[in-house]
Structures are given as structure tokens and as C-alpha cells.
């Protein structure tokens, strides 16, 4: 997603990709003139302030329960006692929290991976058609999809819940349709239970406008000659899509895939509405939100649970920072 994506993404790229090298903004003389120990001190203090809350969470999650509930986490400096007991209890369940976080953690993966791959693929296809197989209404459709980013997903929750469970306009509901599938129906959507299907579909639908917009910006910048030469050689649109569009769009695909995966992983609103609160389909965010209310006083457990939930985004952040930042910034208006 280079310069043509929304300005924000392009700016981020400049900012994060070459943070040390590019100082074109000011001459070195000017920088020396303005730099001061006060500036450095301010940045250092703010960085520490920004990091302390997360550090407090991590330390609390590693302390024995009595220490965690009776002394501040900063007392580890004088009394460094650590344990992994909280993690084993919160992962697989124990006396305080039955069940544990593990099944919800699995649910988060089961929800997030298809909910990232499916919209990504559909959006890439639509973006290719809008950019390189134009027809009379291409521009109108593109503008319409672009404009749909304005619609907050709150506008869609009630009608979609009805579509999934009761059906629209007297037609069968999604639940009835899925359950009617022979043999597999009851596995995918158990009678009287919840299913992952509404989560996958909802996240796909909500992701499409932004995904199509961003990928269109990228794909439409690919060199025209490539497509013309391929068409002259008699390649079908499907071959062009697989052999030209797909390989050349990898940076844009990676950025969006990471953004969408984390968006779904971190989502609470869509999950609360469509996944229900049970262990069958609810993701970690729903579980954390629930135990915050019920076991909020068990600091050692709630912090361990929270750390398990945020470790996945943090790993993605520190290992794929480049794609992560681009994706996150490009998608910052989503929702």
C-alpha cells in the first residue's frame, strides 16, 4: 500500500519504516540547535509512563495470590517472589475460575482466521474487477462501497441478529438454512446452541468496504502493460488474478490480513451480539469482560487472563511491525 492509500497509511510507512535514516525534515544544524536534555527527559518519562501500566499487569500476573491482593506490584523490587500458578489456573481452570480461558482462546482463533481470510479474498476479487474489468457502473459501485464505510456497525446489529435467528421477510433464517444441511448441519450449528457462522459472516460483511477500498487503491496502481500483455496472450481474468494480481499484491494483502485478524481478535461488540457468552463460541474478549465483572477482585487471575489475551496482538506487533503499522493505520477509521 504505497503512496496512493489514504494519506495516513503512506505517512505511517514513512514514519515507521525509516525512523533512523530519514531526517530530511530538519537540517542537522537546526536539530542540534533545538535538541535539549529537557526534550529527551520528557520523552523518556512519557515512555516510562506509557509502559508502566502494562508492566504492572505482567508483574501482577506472575505474583502469588496473597501478595498480589495485599501488596502493590511494585513491591517486587524488595520482595521478588514469582509464580506461574496463576497462569496454570486461568488457562485450564481451578477452584476459583472453573473452565479457564483456554477454550475461549481457541474460539478466538477459530473466529479470527476465517474472518480475516474470507473477506480478504472476496475484497481482492472485487477490487480487481472494479479496477481492471471496468463497465458502465464500476465507478458508481466503487463510490457506493467507499461511502458505506460511514455506516457504523451498530446500524447493522439488530437486523442481522434477526436475519440469523428469525429470518427476513418471512424467509428461512440463517440458522434454519445451516441446520438443514444434511449430516454436517448439527455440527456447524447445534440445535439450541450458538455457532461460529454468524461471526464469520458478520466480520466478513463489515470488513468488505474498507478492504475493497484499500486493495482497489493498491491494485489500480499496478502497471497497465502487464494486464494488456496478458489479455493479448489470451489469459483469462481468472489466470490474471492468480498469476499477476495475487503475487504482486502481497504487501497490501499482508497489511490488511494482519489488520483484520487483530481487529477481529480484539473485537467485543460483534462477539457479544452474535457469539453469545458461552464457552461454545465466545472469544477471549467476551470471557475477559465477563470475569472482570465476576472475579475482578482476584487480581492475580484477571491479570494473567488479560495477558494471555493480549499476548497474540503483542507478538504480531513486535514481529511484523512494518505490516502491522501500515495495516492498522490504513484501517483506523473502520467500524
Amino acid at each position: 500500500m504505497s503512496v496512493e492509500t489514504p494519506g495516513v497509511a503512506a505517512k505511517l510507512e514513512e514514519a515507521m519504516l525509516a525512523p533512523e535514516a530519514d531526517h530530511s525534515g530538519m537540517s542537522s544544524a537546526l536539530r542540534r540547535n533545538l535538541s535539549s536534555p529537557w526534550a529527551t527527559a520528557f520523552v523518556v518519562i512519557l515512555t516510562i509512563l506509557w509502559t508502566i501500566p502494562t508492566l504492572g499487569l505482567l508483574i501482577t500476573s506472575l505474583r502469588p495470590s496473597e501478595l498480589a491482593s495485599e501488596t502493590g506490584w511494585w513491591t517486587v523490587i524488595t520482595n521478588p517472589v514469582f509464580t506461574l500458578q496463576n497462569y496454570s489456573e486461568v488457562i485450564s481452570g481451578g477452584d476459583t475460575i472453573p473452565g479457564g480461558i483456554a477454550p475461549y482462546f481457541i474460539n478466538s482463533f477459530v473466529i479470527s482466521i476465517p474472518a480475516a481470510l474470507i473477506p480478504l479474498t472476496l475484497a481482492l476479487m472485487a477490487a480487481y474487477a472494479l479496477a481492471w474489468v471496468p463497465f458502465k457502473f464500476s465507478n458508481a459501485i466503487f463510490l457506493g462501497i467507499f461511502a458505506l464505510q460511514v455506516v457504523p456497525l451498530q446500524m447493522a446489529l439488530l437486523p442481522l441478529l434477526q436475519l440469523y435467528n428469525l429470518g427476513w421477510f418471512g424467509l428461512p433464517s440463517l440458522k434454519e438454512i445451516v441446520q438443514a444441511i444434511p449430516v454436517l448441519g448439527a455440527w456447524v450449528w447445534p440445535a439450541g446452541g450458538t455457532s461460529f457462522v454468524p461471526m464469520w459472516i458478520s466480520h466478513t460483511m463489515f470488513a468488505l468496504p474498507l478492504a475493497i477500498f484499500l486493495l482497489h487503491n493498491f491494485i489500480s496502481q499496478l502497471p497497465r502493460d502487464l494486464f494488456e500483455a496478458a489479455r493479448v496472450d489470451g489469459a483469462s481474468h481468472f489466470l490474471i488474478f492468480r498469476k499477476i494480481v495475487l503475487p504482486l499484491s502481497v504487501p497490501a494483502i499482508a497489511s490488511f490480513a494482519i489488520f483484520q485478524f487483530l481487529w477481529v481478535w480484539n473485537d467485543l461488540l460483534v462477539a457479544l451480539t452474535f457469539a453469545g457468552g458461552t464457552v461454545a463460541t465466545a472469544p477471549v474478549t467476551v470471557y475477559l469482560s465477563a470475569i472482570k465483572g465476576t472475579y475482578g477482585a482476584q487480581l492475580h487471575l484477571i491479570t494473567a487472563g488479560a495477558f494471555i489475551a493480549i499476548i497474540v496482538p503483542l507478538i504480531v506487533f513486535f514481529s511484523l511491525q512494518r505490516f502491522f503499522v501500515r495495516g492498522l493505520l490504513a484501517g483506523s477509521v473502520k467500524g
Partner: protein, 321 residues
């Protein structure tokens, strides 16, 4: 379902999706002559178009429609749900809070982000502080709420304070209040969480804008005697004005939809309710379809000018480039 069953389901869904897609591609690629291009168009564009129609367009129309109906959605009530929102004294709390959130959070995040961007521009090693301040953007609002819940943890004065904020004010001999019940200031404590998340975003975007200011502009200004604060006010700010607007509106849009933080921290109690959480509560706790829909429409209408302004600024910036 056990883990194996769930993971099998996930793998099967992805496999079926790509399998069907490949099959359709394979079959459609065999089409010859004039039908080829329209068929390709249909296959590429059709699924996305149908999903967007079902997932956003039709629901948006239905929600607008329900907003003029009663709680069960079977009796037309005119604008009653809207007048309920704006004339019920109980609702002024969430309207006031939403207004406070939308003014304070974007401004403070942007000011902090801009300050950091300016100061870091002059530092040799900016990578680590930048990463650490940007990191909260990766964390979910729920995770952030638990992180800050620990900071705001309150204990009876007879016990040892284990929350960082409580312990900190105790150092100065001040008896800490029960932070999350401390009206109306608890609203600001919740906003701090959002500011903590959004400052990194503002910093990274503004830092890039500052670096993009051409060297000759700043040097010319310096030759004319501009230094420090003057240089910042007369040169830097005008040069990055468009980006500042984009950052402010982007954060404001996020703030309007903020739901997770309030729900997880206080569930809207103790005078902390906001629009997006009230919408969820009306629609899915009270099961009042009419009011829930009307609140969603208000959210929608409030977001529109922000997004339009945001997009107009982005376009302007791009045409300048």
C-alpha cells in the same frame, strides 16, 4: 465441541471456501467468447456486492425504519424514540459524557502525540520509545481496561493500596477516592485509557508529517530569525495542518463508537454512560428495538460530518502531493 472439533471446523470452512472458489474459477475460465468478461465480472464482484447489500445496506435501512417504531417494532410511533433520547433528563448524562469524550480525548491525544513527535524528531534513538508508545494500539479495549483497572484499583484506607494511582496519591498524604465511583471525574479516568491507546497513533502519523516538511522551508524560516516556539507556530503547524485535522477526526470517530472501555470498566454506571454503550444496552439488554435503533441512527448521523471532513482533508493532501 472440543478443541479438535472446533479446529477441524475452522480448517474445513477455509478449505471449503477456497475449494469452491477454485472450482468456480476453473469452470468459468473455460467459458469462451463474448460471455467471458461479463461472467468474470459477476464472479469477482458478485459475492462482495451481495454481502455488502445484506450486511450493511439493508440493515441500515431497517434500523432507520425501526427507529420510528415501538420497542417490539410493530407499532409506528413517529419521532418518539428521538424525543425520548434528547428530552429525558436521565439521558443527559450519556449525552454530556459523549460530548466530553469527543472533545477531550482527540485533543489531548493529538497534543501529546504532536509533542512527542516534535521532541523525537530531534532525538538520535527514537525507535524504542516510538514502539513502546505505539504498542497500546495493538491491545484490545478490553485488555486495556483490565490494565487500567489495576491502576485504578481502590482499597479501603485501612488496607494497603495495591492500585498504582491510589498508592501514588497516598504518598502525598491524600486519601484516595474510590476512583471509578468518583463522579464526574471517573469519566476522565476512562478517557485516559483511550488517550493512552490513541497517543501512539497521533505520534506516528504526525511524526511522518513533520519529517515530510521540506528542509529549505525550515532553513529559510531560521534565516529569518524564527526559533523554537515561533518556528513551531508559524512554520511547523501550518505545514502539517491537514494531517492534524485527519488525526483529530480519526480519533473522534473512534471515540464516538467507544463501547468496550465503558462496558468493561463501569458498564455505564456511576454517571459514565456513553452513546454507544447506551445503544447496546437499549437494544440487547432492555430489548427495546425502537430506542436501540434510534440511538444507532444518532451515532450514524454524528459520525457522518467527521468522516466527510476527514476524507475531504485526505483528498486535499493527496492532490497537493
Amino acid at each position: 465441541m472440543d478443541y479438535a472439533s472446533k479446529l477441524t471446523l475452522m480448517v474445513s470452512v477455509v478449505a471449503v471456501f477456497f475449494g469452491v472458489l477454485l472450482l468456480v474459477f476453473f469452470l468459468a475460465a473455460r467459458a469462451k467468447g463474448k460471455a467471458q468478461t461479463p461472467l468474470a465480472r459477476l464472479i469477482f464482484l458478485g459475492p462482495a456486492a451481495v454481502l455488502v447489500l445484506i450486511g450493511l445496506v439493508i440493515p441500515a435501512i431497517q434500523t432507520t425504519y425501526y427507529s420510528f417504531y415501538n420497542s417490539d417494532g410493530n407499532k409506528f410511533v413517529g419521532a418518539k424514540n428521538y424525543s425520548w433520547i434528547f428530552t429525558t433528563p436521565d439521558n443527559w448524562v450519556f449525552l454530556r459524557n459523549t460530548a466530553l469524550w469527543i472533545v477531550i480525548t482527540p485533543i489531548l491525544s493529538t497534543v501529546l502525540g504532536l509533542t512527542l513527535a516534535l521532541l523525537m524528531d530531534r532525538m538520535k534513538r527514537e525507535s524504542l520509545p516510538k514502539s513502546l508508545i505505539f504498542m497500546p494500539m495493538a491491545i484490545s479495549f478490553v485488555g486495556a481496561s483490565i490494565i487500567w483497572g489495576l491502576v485504578y484499583e481502590y482499597r479501603d484506607p485501612a488496607e494497603t493500596q495495591v492500585g498504582l494511582l491510589s498508592a501514588f496519591v497516598s504518598l502525598f498524604g491524600i486519601e484516595p477516592p474510590n476512583w471509578l465511583l468518583w463522579q464526574p471525574w471517573n469519566n476522565f479516568l476512562l478517557m485516559v485509557i483511550m488517550i493512552w491507546i490513541q497517543t501512539g497513533f497521533a505520534m506516528v502519523v504526525l511524526s511522518a508529517a513533520i519529517k515530510a516538511i521540506p528542509t529549505d522551508v525550515t532553513e529559510a524560516a531560521m534565516l529569518d530569525g524564527a526559533t523554537g516556539w515561533n518556528l513551531f507556530r508559524k512554520v511547523t503547524v501550518p505545514m502539517i495542518r491537514g494531517t492534524l485535522v485527519v488525526v483529530l477526526t480519526t480519533i473522534a470517530i473512534g471515540v464516538l463508537k467507544v463501547f468496550d472501555i465503558v462496558r468493561t470498566m463501569t458498564n455505564g454506571n456511576f454517571g459514565t454512560q456513553v452513546l454507544a454503550n447506551e445503544m447496546y444496552a437499549q437494544a440487547f439488554v432492555q430489548f427495546d428495538k425502537g430506542r436501540g435503533s434510534a440511538l444507532a441512527v444518532v451515532l450514524f448521523v454524528a459520525v457522518i460530518p467527521l468522516i466527510v471532513y476527514n476524507v475531504v482533508q485526505l483528498r486535499k493532501e493527496q492532490s497537493i502531493r
